[in-house]
């Protein structure tokens, strides 16, 4: 049987054609990952598969069988917020918050592959994510702050 590892926990996948987002939300019960459009256009459903950000609403669970998935619930470690999460909190980079898990995951992936993105690179990396409350300015600032915090931490 196909299987997935989500946030360190193993899950059987009885139906490989199951939509990955629905599997995560309704079968695994991890509802922090959101449905926004079902077409891969808004980024609310973004999760990491083996470290890479993907739109889970456009994939089947079988397509990533054997993969290791990180959802928003799995980003904090040992009770400590990921620097990106902390920066979103510090900058009040949210309103309704529905899109925020997707933005946080996408931002964490960006900083994983590029620890010093400039503002244009941040905007480009986040262009796939949509925030209808319009908190973009704060989100970009939060990612900049997170990059600085991560650099300071590495320097310790």
């Amino acid at each position: 049987m196909d299987s997935l590892n989500i946030n360190g926990q193993p899950y059987d996948v009885p139906d490989p054609s199951r939509n990955l987002l629905s599997f995560i939300r309704f079968d695994a019960g991890l509802t922090g990952t959101k449905y926004g459009c079902g077409e891969g256009l808004c980024g609310a459903c973004t999760v990491l598969v083996d470290g890479q950000p993907v739109h889970s609403c456009t994939l089947t669970a079988g397509a990533v069988s054997g993969g290791s998935i990180t959802t928003i619930e799995g980003l904090a470690r040992d009770g400590e917020l990921h620097p990106v999460q902390q920066a979103f909190v510090d900058e009040n980079a949210m309103q309704c918050g529905y899109c925020i898990p997707g933005f946080v995951i996408t931002s964490a992936a960006l900083l994983q592959r590029d620890s010093h993105p400039d503002e244009a690179q941040i905007r480009e990396a986040l262009a796939q994510n949509m925030c209808r409350c319009g908190t973009y300015q704060r989100i970009v600032r939060a990612v900049e702050c997170a990059a600085a915090a991560m650099e300071a931490r590495h320097g310790e």
Binding site: T31, G32, E39, L81
Partner: protein, 692 residues
């Protein structure tokens, strides 16, 4: 249904500010329910010293959970973390008309401050008794009552209230804390719900799961006017996972164990529809609105237009068209309904939990008292979620199925079936003198839809014009209409503020100067002067691509200056400076966040957004065909809060959206010489450079 061990409880009238003023949009729109219970619990100080505040408002991003906590914390002299805010639950919170019109801080926040001030007075009296000191010698500080003369003599709220059950009536005249003594209010406050949001723990309606819940896929009509003639369910019923195809009158839905099974089976329903065609398309709409306009309603009349136009040196006439736009909150509407005997519980992310309870009672033919509506956090609404038909759909289907049922809109459902901001055609005729003084102003606005209060909002001119007549008309609407941020305020402001620029152009005056010449209201003048100064207006206008507009909404005044550039085939808004006067500011960063959000949302309506339709069928059924602003479109926004602390708080969630589309259109004119009287601008952007 507040806690049993309540310590100190403050009860008061369930609905301050109800009924709404006659003629107000709230009164016209949503006074369909009224407070049943005479009194409600507003606040408790628990025996452990913690504080719980109750309000029937809902949190849909505007930050009122934080705002209310800030207000209560300051009045009770406790830390922000000691305050829990319970919102939007018909079984637990005071009745409320709905979360719209930027009333939460102005009305409900004030009520909670009074409740907290009442509690503070009660705690002082209790402490005077316990410490055997005169109340005049006591003050509340850090969750305790302390003697002014001897700081060693103090008693914590917790010690005061252990084993106590005290109930006090909310004192409307309890002394509120003056602004000079605020320690929490007016300072930067971190959202109390921030960590839950970044960790995915915030629960929205889409996330609610109930044991035994079936997923519904509802058969939706292809066009607004379509009526179901017949449906063949045989194929759908044989699909895997399908529990049943439920039918309740016109409502038909597949109920299945999973969302995908329900959707797959629903696609196999063979339905035939009557009356699915007819009506104008979006291209024919402007003319249609004028032709079908009826029920003229004069929102403002002064002097005599005949006299005004006769006296004017110049007369200018223009028409403006604003298409239907959609709210498109990130969380599509959803509802989960569960019956236990004759008791119904519905989780629904509506802006009107009490309102939809009344609607459901009527639709289901049961007593309101048998329905509980719980509102989890709402993933955006912007006014639109005042309309929430999925709640009753879920309740009806759950009754048929004998099991809990979840109904959720897809994105396409949200774009096609949710109500739109009414489209409008607005004609403006102005008379003015060579120095730019406006002497006559005629404004005729044809707004689509059956809710006249939407089109009346913000139609009155704030300029000091001696001869004025403003008339709004209600026009036939081929599409479903409903609430939007500022209702029709942003629509009326677009026409008015673009026209002001046309007058400035005709009179050869700077647009800021022209406005100041016709504005006497001191709060209006101040926001305009402050925004222009902070934007370095003169320099920006010299560089070209600068635009200005002002607006008033929900009692607050706003001015915006914007800079735009042309990048290939697109206009990009580079920079916005906003000045807002909303009186006393409870949570400054919360207000700034609302201003930024209003600007980005309005930017979408200015540049990209328009619903296209033909024969009552919406053609943009996904984000690929309905462009909304993204990170790459967002401008740099600087916000100045210029209100006075001794002026009562007014709304902050809407004022900044009313001037933005005009400011952008005016800036594009400054850049290209092309006047945009129709939205969205991207559709009409010509290739001609300025002066060509």
């Amino acid at each position: 249904m507040a806690s049993e061990q309540h310590g100190l409880r403050i009860v008061g009238a369930a609905a301050p500010g109800f009924p709404p003023a006659r003629g107000s949009y709230a009164g016209a729109a949503y006074a369909t329910t009224s407070p049943g219970a005479a009194k409600a619990t507003w606040l408790e100080v628990r025996p452990d010293g913690s504080v719980v505040a109750y309000a029937g408002k809902v949190e849909y991003g505007q930050g009122i959970r934080t705002g209310f906590a800030v207000e209560v914390a300051d009045e009770l002299r406790v830390s922000l973390g000691a305050v829990e805010v319970v919102l939007g639950d018909t079984a637990r919170t005071p009745w409320d008309m709905g979360t719209f019109g930027s009333q939460s801080t102005a009305r409900t926040g004030l009520q909670l401050r009074r409740a907290a001030a009442t509690a503070r007075q009660a705690l002082l009296e209790l402490a005077a008794d316990r410490l055997d000191l005169p109340a005049s010698d006591l003050i509340c500080r850090d969750g305790a009552v302390t003697s002014r003369s001897d700081a060693a003599r103090a008693i914590s709220y917790r010690d005061l209230l252990a084993d106590k059950q005290i109930e006090r009536d909310l004192d409307e005249n309890a002394p509120l804390t003056p602004a000079s003594e605020f320690t929490v209010m007016g300072k930067h406050a971190q959202r109390v719900d921030a960590v839950a949001r970044v960790t995915g723990r915030t629960q929205y309606t889409q996330d609610v799961r109930v044991d035994g819940m079936l997923f519904a896929a509802v058969l939706r009509p292809p066009a607004r006017a379509a009526r179901l003639r017949s449906v063949d369910t045989s194929l759908a019923e044989r699909m895997p996972g399908v529990a049943q195809v439920a039918r309740d009158g016109d409502l038909v839905a597949v109920l299945a164990r999973t969302d995908e099974q329900a959707d797959a089976a629903c696609a196999l329903l063979r339905a035939e529809w009557d009356g699915a065609d007819g009506g104008p398309s979006h291209i024919e709409l402007p003319e249609y609105l004028v032709r079908t306009g009826r029920d003229p309603f004069v929102t403002q009349e002064e002097g005599s237009l005949d006299d005004g136009f006769r006296a004017a040196a110049h007369v200018l006439e223009s028409a403006y068209f604003i298409p239907y736009v959609s709210n498109e909150p990130m969380e599509p509407r959803a509802a989960i309904a569960e019956w236990k005997g004759d008791q119904l519980t519905v989780w629904a992310g509506s802006q009107r939990p009490f309102g939809i309870r009344a609607e459901m009672a009527q639709e289901l033919g049961i007593d309101e008292a048998n329905i509980r509506v719980i509102t989890p956090d709402v993933g955006g609404g912007f006014g639109s979620k005042s309309t929430y038909p999925v709640a009753a759909e879920a309740a009806r289907l759950a009754r048929v199925a004998g099991a809990p049922v979840r109904v959720a809109y897809s994105r396409a459902d949200e774009l096609v079936h949710a109500p739109f901001r009414p489209a409008a055609l607005i004609r403006v005729k102005s008379g003015f003198n060579a120095d730019g003084t406006i002497v006559a102003w005629q404004f005729d606005a044809y707004h689509a839809g059956d809710r006249p209060f939407i089109g009346r909002r913000g139609s009155e001119t704030p300029y000091a014009v001696p001869h004025v007549k403003v008339t709004t008309y209600t026009s036939e609407s081929p599409l479903r209409t409903g609430s939007y941020r500022s209702l029709g305020g942003a629509v009326n402001h677009f026409a008015r503020e673009v026209h002001l620029d046309e007058i400035a152009q005709a009179a050869g005056l700077d647009p800021v100067e022209l406005r100041l010449r016709n504005l006497t209201h001191p709060r209006f003048r101040r926001v305009l002067e402050r925004a222009a100064e902070a934007h370095c207006w003169s320099a920006a206008a010299r560089r070209r691509g600068a635009g200005v507009a002002i607006g008033v909404d929900v009692g607050s005044y706003c001015a915006l200056c914007v800079d735009v550039t042309r990048q290939g085939a697109e206009v990009r808004v580079e920079r916005v400076t906003a000045a807002l006067d909303c009186g006393l500011v409870v949570n400054p960063d919360g207000v700034v966040n609302q201003v930024e959000g209003s600007i980005v949302m309005g930017l979408g309506t200015a540049l990209f957004e328009a619903i296209e339709f033909r024969g009552g069928r919406v053609l943009n059924s996904g984000f690929a065909r309905y462009r909304v602003p993204r990170t790459s479109d967002a401008p740099a926004i600087a916000t100045l809060l210029v209100g006075d602390d001794d002026v009562p708080s007014t709304g902050a969630g809407e004022p900044a959206i009313v001037p933005i589309a005009a400011a952008i259109s005016n800036a594009v004119f400054d850049l290209t010489g092309q006047r945009h009287r129709e939205l969205p601008i991207s559709r009409y952007l010509g290739a001609a450079p300025r002066g060509a």
